[in-house]
């Protein structure tokens, strides 16, 4: 049946649409034809697909052909069924008729005759010529049509329709089309049915020897074709798929060796998208379908349908896998195919498929992820084509032009080498070319990487080819059978992976192509098989062989010269990259960009190259693929170098340096460093900032952080790791400290002015640290300068070298490196004396200096005495360690006091000199408490006053108080200052009170003098005498001394003693004015005290040493004696106050009663003596006098007369205060007796609490 093939194909090619035959009974076709054909193609048709389901077909093409047409006549019945798809699918019977008789007699029988043949699907179209104006005619037409219907319509099917030539009814065309469709549908169904039956029959007997694929094919394809004509592409496609399946199953299993095909000229160009490439007759020979052509043919048909279904994506994916599988079978038959047929075919196939799919692809008509899928496929196709193309180029010696990148080596080395039956040999006349090549090879030195980086050659070095080619020739010549059939052993054999393993080469051979060139001797090269070919020869031979293989001119063109090759190579790579970029496969895209960059680089388009390289580097770096990064980064660096992008270049160098050590030789890494240094010191216009975080890392030293005190400078030492291979000199370095807690505290930068040399690995650098605010600090950023280069590093030594701790520490807080303590007392100065010192005497005042966990090394103490106190410059200052003192301090000092006592059991003692108010501390005193004894002298020119019963003592601390201002400078840089003013209390040894104890009737008064000792020392009184004021005289002859049996009188600390003097009033001169208003008490005394306790013998004779030697001091105190009231004539009494009502701020009436005790004797009484002048004296601080302070009150001269003087006062302060006193200025005090006699106090309550009324209350 194969002989039908030719016919079959021609038929197939001629007929491309459904045929509708027209039986023109009454020659109206010409007239109606235009109207009818205007309906074509049919807008919408509903047909049944193979599974009898209605399918809507848009625009079904069809053709009206008169039955009388030649094309429909003269068919041999036997070929009928075979080519049935071309037979008419419907028959339209065109009739017209004006009168019934004619219809009955002529037309009807004729029609009956026509339609009797049931093979055909037919229906009648009645054309009415009647003009509507002529209703006679039209009536007739109706009648006839009615008849017609009666005749031919059956109840189950309408076979008639009426066409009005002049005014076609509105629904006529629908009617017509529906009828046509009905016919077509039925026909189609029937024919499908028929084909299926036939096919089934065949496939049942498939396993019989007689079975012939050809018949099956024809049937199958006819069916498919019919579907295609009917625009049922789905079904058509399915048929083809089944066909292919069947083919692969049957054809390839059957043992007998078939002709594979692909031997013809032009077969190298893939025809997988044009079915018409070859006539079927060429494909099929004596019933055997050539695999090569036929499979392409099938795929072509499939792809055609896929495009019609506009599913280019599916076409692409099917195509890709088709190419893969097909190239496998090409590999199987490689030995009978032309040299490198496989590579060429795949290349062309990919390109063709790309071309076809893209041209059929419209953007955005599918879901985005589908789209991505599509672009991925295109990318794959491109890269496949690219690889094969590279292999071809490589064979003919463009190897040097191919970038030796991981990508290429991966793809190339994974490809099997071509395995021709016979490796092409050099044509006889090619000697010149060979020489050319030789030269070329010698010239082309493969580009050396920058920084003199040595890379082991990736496995696409020429040596491999050399070896491969010669190996094959040798093995074939040796008639190695396994080699003969090794093409059966599966494609992987000989692929890049086992190539090295199989022929474990001596390293020398692998070293580089140059070696293999040198050891290849030029000269006689008649393709004598035993002599291995030289590289050039291989190239030339391959070139010639390829020329034979490649039929496609422009593919050949792109292999003709290395420039052309490069162009093509670039196109393919771009194509792949761009498509990958639009797909999910970003990495593929980026990596290919790198390849493009390589070419750009070669052509000096450095900025494009740099851009692409940056992308690649970013990809690798971002995901940490250092090995790959190490491949690309140097190239990037070189671009930047050439582009003079210093910042970028430096950064790249740094990144190169911070890659894993193992990735580069030390030599190379040194090169990187030297580049950095060179640039840093070269003339850069503007300093370049550079981040070296990955290279220079730093951290605090292990162990506790450096502890400093507020305002203390210190020295901070930091560990710095350098990733540089050699020592590197940093001109300056600065390190910031961040306060951890108080963020308001900004960052502090520590600078090291001097240059620092970092050795590779761990370094410890020290920075001096200016005083910091209290808080704890962590390291911040390390910045520094190398020449013009400003670098900074943020990183702590997480990524530091192996010796640094690299444990898994989730949120490990940055270790504080510096702690600055809150300002605290570092030293304490205090007065060492426990009680008051003697005034007007030389006294030792002790200053207790107590360091608090802080050294007072070389401290300087400024001493400045306040008014009324002077330092005896003449005397040295004594300093002694005071272990004892520290007992009574806080435990803190306690325990270090303790340790002091242990460490210096012998108390240090030293004499120092005060120089213009400054004292230098000795070293031994730097850590232990010590006392500084300073000799001072408090001067007070006022006499101390005693008090009598009348006047109470005026306490005033201040007049005994003296101050010493101290200023201690200490700390490493005397930066710490401690100032304190010590108050030292000075006092008189005694406080004296007097009272008249007794009045004897002889007028002698016994005056009692009470001495209060004011000091914590024992006082010894040796003598005491009284210089009396006027109005008093001593009685007896004791010269105003008590009898001496008193003395010496010892007064123990803070106790009293009394002395009696007997005196009497001096009657003689009462009246005369007094020039001695007060009497002076003189006391000669000694003191025995210890200087730590307080008042103590003055130093001068302490220096002479012996305290036994009694030394006498004089104490003088003024006392006023009051004449006792001898003859009272007025009595003043203070009337008691209502107990409760004395409150601050409340008016109170104070009352005094004045009574005349007796008449004044006439002597010395003025006339207006019935009036008394009174005056109220009050401490204005305590009282406000509301009434009149001073005035006259009338008091009758008779004895016993009495008046009440009352004054309104308001207490201003709470507490016990002395009430106002009423005085009578006119009257001699001697004549007034007061009640109560002594001064007394009243109690004032604080004011009732109220916010409105506040008065400062001082305690």
């Amino acid at each position: 049946m194969a002989n039908f093939l030719a016919q079959f194909q021609t038929i197939k090619n001629t007929s491309d649409r459904l045929v509708i035959s027209v039986e023109d009974v009454s020659d109206v076709w010409p007239t109606v034809k235009p109207a009818f054909e205007a309906r074509l193609p049919f807008k919408r048709a509903t047909l049944n697909n193979k599974t009898r389901n209605p399918v809507l077909v848009e625009a079904l093409p069809a053709e009206f052909i008169l039955t009388t047409d030649a094309r429909l006549r003269s068919r041999f019945p036997h070929e009928q069924f075979l080519f049935w798809f071309r037979e008419p699918y419907a028959t339209i019977v065109l009739v017209t008729c004006e009168d019934l008789d004619e219809f009955k007699t002529i037309l009807k029988p004729r029609l009956k005759l026509i339609v009797q043949n049931d093979e055909r699907e037919w229906f009648v179209v009645f054309v009415s010529k009647a003009h509507p104006a002529n209703d006679q005619a039209s009536k007739m037409a109706k009648k006839v049509y009615a008849k017609l219907e009666v005749e031919f319509n059956t109840k189950k099917r309408e076979r008639c329709c009426k066409y009005d030539m002049h005014f076609p009814e509105a629904n006529f065309w629908e009617d017509l089309e529906s009828k046509v469709m009905e016919c077509i549908r039925n026909t189609l169904d029937r024919r499908v049915q028929f084909y299926e039956d036939e096919i089934r029959k065949l496939s049942e007997q498939r396993l019989m020897p007689v079975w012939n694929f050809c018949n099956f094919f024809i049937l199958k394809e006819s069916l498919a074709f019919m579907f295609e004509m009917a625009h049922l592409h789905e079904d058509a496609l399915r048929e083809y798929d089944e066909l292919e399946l069947c083919y692969l199953e049957t054809v390839n299993v059957t043992g007998k060796q078939r002709d594979f095909g692909g031997a013809d000229h032009g077969d190298d160009q893939a025809a997988l998208v044009n079915p018409g490439n070859k006539a079927l007759t060429q494909i099929v020979q004596e019933d055997s379908f050539r695999e090569f052509e036929f499979r392409q043919y099938l795929f072509a048909c499939q792809s055609k349908l896929l495009f019609k279904l506009n599913r280019p994506i599916e076409a692409a994916s099917r195509g890709y896998s088709f190419i893969i599988s097909f190239s496998k079978s090409l590999a199987l038959h490689e030995r009978i195919l032309p040299f490198c047929m496989r590579e060429v075919w795949v290349t062309t196939a990919c390109l063709a498929l790309i071309e076809a799919t893209t041209s059929n692809y419209k953007d955005g008509l599918v879901a985005p992820d589908m789209e991505k899928e599509f672009f991925r496929l295109l990318g794959d196709l491109y890269s496949l084509a690219r690889v094969k193309f590279m292999r071809l180029a490589y064979l003919i010696g463009y190897g040097a032009d191919i970038e030796r990148s991981p990508v290429n080596s991966a793809s190339l080395s994974l490809l099997p080498w071509p395995k021709p039956a016979v490796w092409p040999t050099v044509p006889a006349d090619a000697s010149t070319e060979v020489l050319e090549k030789e030269k070329l090879i010698l010239q082309t030195t493969s580009r050396t990487k920058s920084f003199g980086i040595q890379r082991k050659p990736l496995p696409l070095e020429p040596t491999v080819l050399l070896r491969e080619a010669n190996r094959r020739r040798a093995s074939l010549s040796a008639g190695n059978m396994s080699e003969m059939f090794d093409s059966r052993q599966g494609p992987m054999e000989g692929s890049g992976f086992d190539t090295p393993t199989r022929m474990s080469p001596p390293p020398k051979a692998l070293a580089s192509s140059s070696i293999s060139r040198t050891n290849s001797s030029p000269g006689n090269f008649e393709g004598s098989i035993d002599r291995p070919m030289r590289l050039a020869e291989i190239f030339i031979a391959a070139e010639h062989a390829l020329k034979k293989t490649i039929s496609n001119p422009e593919l050949w063109k792109s292999l003709s010269s290395s420039e052309e090759f490069e162009q093509k190579y670039l196109d393919l790579t771009r194509g792949a990259a761009d498509n990958y970029h639009r797909s999910w496969w970003k990495r593929h895209g980026v990596v290919l960009d790198g390849e493009i960059a390589a070419v750009d680089f070669k052509h000096g388009h450095f900025d494009q190259a740099a851009k692409s390289y940056e992308k690649v580097c970013a990809l690798y770096a971002g995901e940490g693929w250092q090995d790959l990064l190490a491949e690309v980064l140097p190239n990037l660096a070189e671009c930047q170098k050439i582009l003079n992008d210093q910042a970028g270049y430096l950064l790249s160098c740094v990144r190169l340096l911070s890659l894993d050590e193992g990735l580069f030789l030390t030599k190379e890494r040194q090169a990187f460093q030297s580049e950095v240094v060179r640039l840093a010191h070269s003339e850069m216009k503007d300093p370049v900032p550079l981040d070296v975080s990955s290279l220079i890392t730093f951290s605090g030293n292990p162990g506790p952080p450096l502890a400093l005190c507020d305002k203390d400078p210190g020295i901070l030492s930091v560990t710095v790791w350098s990733g540089f291979p050699d020592d590197i000199t940093l001109d300056s370095i600065s390190l910031t400290l961040n306060a951890t807690y108080n963020t308001d505290e900004g960052v502090k930068a520590l600078k090291s002015s001097t240059a620092i040399v970092l050795h590779p690995g761990r370094n410890t650098i020290t920075l001096d640290l200016p005083p910091q605010k209290p808080g704890s600090y962590v390291l911040g950023v390390l910045t520094g300068q190398i020449g013009q280069l400003r670098f900074r590093s943020h990183s702590f030594s997480k990524v530091g070298p192996a010796d640094s701790d690299d444990f898994m520490s989730y949120e490990k807080p940055a270790k504080p490196i510096l702690k600055v303590f809150k300002p605290r007392a570092l030293v304490d100065l205090d007065a060492a004396v426990s009680s008051a010192l003697l005034i007007n005497e030389d006294q030792w005042v002790g200053i207790l200096v107590r360091p608090v966990n802080y050294s007072l090394k070389a401290a300087v103490l400024h001493i400045d005495t306040g008014p009324g106190l002077e330092i005896k410059e003449s005397h040295v200052i004594e300093m002694e360690s005071s272990a004892g003192v520290s007992e009574n301090d806080g435990d803190q000092v306690q325990n270090d006091g303790a340790e002091i006592r242990t460490l210096n059991s012998d108390k240090n003692f030293e004499r120092l000199i005060l120089r213009d108010g400054k004292i230098e501390f000795p070293n031994w005193a730097s850590d232990i408490p010590s006392i500084l004894w300073v000799l001072v002298h408090a001067i007070s020119d006022t006499l101390s006053r005693g008090s009598s019963s009348a006047t109470t003592r005026r306490e005033s601390i201040v007049d005994g108080m003296r101050t010493i201002a101290l200023k201690l400078e200490f700390g490493a840089f005397h930066n710490q200052i401690f100032e304190r003013t010590l108050a030292v209390h000075f006092t008189y040894p005694f406080y004296v009170r007097t009272r008249v104890t007794d009045k004897c009737n002889d007028g002698t008064l016994l005056l009692q003098v009470i001495l209060h000792s004011e000091v914590k020392a024992t006082l010894t009184i040796y003598d005491a005498w009284l210089d009396l004021q006027d109005g008093f005289v001593h009685t007896g002859q004791t010269e105003g001394r008590p009898n001496s049996s008193f003395f010496p009188l010892i007064i123990s600390p803070s106790s009293k003693a009394g002395i009696l003097f007997s005196i009497c009033l001096d009657k003689a001169n009462v009246e005369e004015t007094r020039e001695k208003p007060e009497s002076i008490l003189n006391i000669k005394y000694g003191i025995s005290g210890e200087r730590t306790i307080g008042a103590h013998p003055p130093v001068m004779n302490r220096s002479t040493g012996v305290d036994g030697a009694r030394q006498e001091l004089i104490f003088r105190s003024a006392i006023t004696l009051q004449r006792p009231v001898l003859d009272p004539c007025l009595a003043v009494g203070f009337l008691p106050l209502p107990s409760d009502c004395l409150r601050v701020g409340q008016l109170i009436k104070m009352q005094w009663r004045v009574e005349r005790l007796k008449d004044l004797d006439e002597a010395g009484v003025s006339k207006q003596n019935d009036e008394v002048l009174y005056e109220v004296k009050a401490n204005s601080g305590n009282w406000m006098i509301a009434g009149r302070k001073r005035g006259y009150a009338s008091l009758s001269p008779q004895q016993g007369a009495r008046i009440i003087i009352s004054v309104l006062c308001m207490p201003l302060v709470a507490g016990y205060v002395r009430p106002p006193l009423l005085g009578l200025p006119d009257v001699d005090e001697a004549n007034i007796s007061c009640k109560p006699a002594g001064p007394h106090l009243v109690c004032v309550l604080p004011p009732p609490l109220s916010s409105s009324f506040c008065i400062p209350v001082n305690p």
Partner: protein, 176 residues
């Protein structure tokens, strides 16, 4: 055959570990101690999750992962499952174990109320001192859960609540 050790090994180790960090290293800084203990738990959880998710399909959503923790993970550790799982469907899950094994042997002084939760390291006033001591022992399981989840790609914060002993509920807040 899965290898086993006596439970008291783990118990004593945990007890001592907590004691070591709370009483010796960071006696006065409970929050630092807590950080360390939690970190230890985190590592364990991280590794265990790697181990126990072998042989099982990947989780499609958070809930699946949490369920895994409740069922298989928990039973591997405690031979029992979480008794009750609640969620607000907005990233917060509450896993309650009605008889949490690691608390089974602890009895806090009855005198002290033990309403507490791991989060509050407020100043250790005497009354919540014991509660805090208790919660110190809970940082470890919290760390385990956090480690496991974050290894499954679910960053989260985990806290424990022991307001009704011996039940203990772990609150997982997934970081959006």
């Amino acid at each position: 055959m899965v290898r086993e050790v006596s439970e008291s090994c783990v118990d004593s180790l945990l007890t001592e570990m907590v004691a070591c960090y709370c009483n010796r290293f960071y006696a006065n800084k409970p929050e630092l101690a807590a950080r360390r203990i939690e970190a230890i738990g985190y590592q364990v959880g991280h590794q265990l999750s790697e181990r126990y998710t072998m042989e099982r399909p990947r989780f499609t959503d958070h809930l699946e992962a949490i369920k895994f923790i409740c069922k298989d993970f928990w039973s591997e550790l405690f031979k029992k499952q979480i008794d009750n799982l609640k969620t607000n469907h907005r990233g917060t899950f509450v896993l309650q174990d009605n008889k949490f094994r690691w608390l089974a042997r602890m009895s806090v002084d009855p005198s002290i109320d033990n309403a507490s939760s791991v989060e509050d390291n407020s100043a250790p006033t005497p009354e919540n001192k014991a509660a805090q001591a208790m919660s110190m022992h809970l940082y470890f399981p919290c760390g385990i859960i956090r480690g496991a989840l974050s290894n499954l790609g679910i960053p989260c914060a985990v806290s424990a609540d022991i307001s009704n002993l011996p039940a203990c509920s772990f609150v997982v807040r997934i970081k959006a």
